[in-house]
């Protein structure tokens, strides 16, 4: 099974790295930058896992539910 997990800071959480990257984009001439948020993308290739188990791993290990949301996409 191949899957991609996307982990993002929750909307209410200040992401100072995203803010800094956004400012750099403005310095490079990109106008109208409203928001930049930096998260993680995790590629998983695993034999024999079920989706429920992967959700548990996403919840317990790959994201911190206090401050992050995750999205699990099963590719194959």
């Amino acid at each position: 099974m191949k899957a991609i997990v996307t982990v993002m800071p929750k909307p209410a959480i200040l992401d100072p790295a995203g803010v800094a990257a956004g400012r750099a984009m403005e310095h490079l001439g990109l106008r109208g930058v409203r928001s930049v948020r930096i998260g993680k993308s995790i590629e998983i290739d695993v034999d024999g896992a079920d989706e429920k188990q992967l959700h548990e791993i996403c919840h317990d290990l790959l994201s911190n539910p206090v401050v992050e949301d995750y999205k699990l996409e099963i590719l194959s």
């Binding site: 959480i13 200040l14 100072p16 800094a20 290990l61 790959l62 911190n64 206090v66 401050v67």
Partner: protein, 244 residues
């Protein structure tokens, strides 16, 4: 059996990447009657120890999130069990991050809002002496203890925060040298200038500053000793009540 000179045994957990373990051990051993032993993260038991310290460092290289992998180390089952049976558990810096990831303390620690790694002496106000970690201190006392972290911005949702304040679980807050809680005194953007919190049961305490680095006058401050002294007082009291 009655023991007139009880020896207090403290476990200092060493994870791959811990780097304040021997400092914690040395600080603890500077107290009479206290021995501190380094315990490998691969161990699964903590019997015979009176208190547990999760030291600072960069466990597992801070991969994924600070403390997120250490949380699943074999020793953490024993730490969890110790915490639930009332044993004192102290998490310093990365140890605090691990305790939050493990759910033994509420909230979490995020990247400093300045994005800078802050390494400096600063001031902390004692918010409550009603805990086994602050009982030897005075309410509103100002401590000078160093910090050294890049991810120390304490965050908890509004409901959790309200509960923390209501139950006096916030034990230390960043302040200026006069004890005023101000924005410039906040080194990392922590909500409410929070530097350290204890569990609802009060026997688990996490803080970002390093008390073990403020235990000798040659290091510039001895204000960290009060935290360890509080723990020792509690263990001594417990020992005398069970052996009497």
């Amino acid at each position: 059996m009655f023991n007139t000179n009880p020896v207090i045994k403290v476990a200092v957990i060493r994870f791959p990447g811990s780097n304040c373990d021997t400092d914690c051990q040395a600080a603890l051993r500077s107290f009479p009657g206290v021995d501190a032993e380094i315990v490998c993260h691969k161990e699964t038991g903590l019997s015979g120890f009176d208190a547990v310290v999760l030291p600072g460092g960069f466990s597992y290289g801070d991969y994924l999130r600070c403390g997120s992998i250490a949380r699943f180390s074999p020793i953490m089952g024993a730490v969890r069990q110790a915490a639930s049976s009332g044993v004192l558990v102290l998490g310093i810096c990365n140890g605090f991050q691990i305790l939050c990831e493990a759910g033994l303390l509420p909230g979490t620690l995020l990247r400093n809002n300045s994005l800078l790694f802050r390494c400096e002496h600063l001031h902390l106000r004692v918010e409550s002496i009603d805990s086994p970690f602050t009982s030897a201190l005075e309410n509103d006392a100002v401590l000078e203890i160093p910090i050294a972290h890049g991810e120390g911005r304490y965050f908890a949702d509004a409901e959790t925060l309200e509960s923390l304040y209501k139950h006096k679980q916030v034990l230390l807050r960043y302040c200026d040298k006069e004890g005023n809680i101000t924005a410039p005194a906040n080194p990392n953007g922590s909500i409410g200038n929070i530097a350290g919190i204890c569990s609802h049961g009060r026997n688990v305490f996490g803080l970002m500053p390093h008390p073990e680095r403020a235990c000798e006058s040659i290091l510039g401050s001895t204000d960290g000793r009060g935290i360890f002294q509080s723990m020792i007082n509690r263990v001594t009291k417990f020992q005398s009540s069970t052996t009497a």
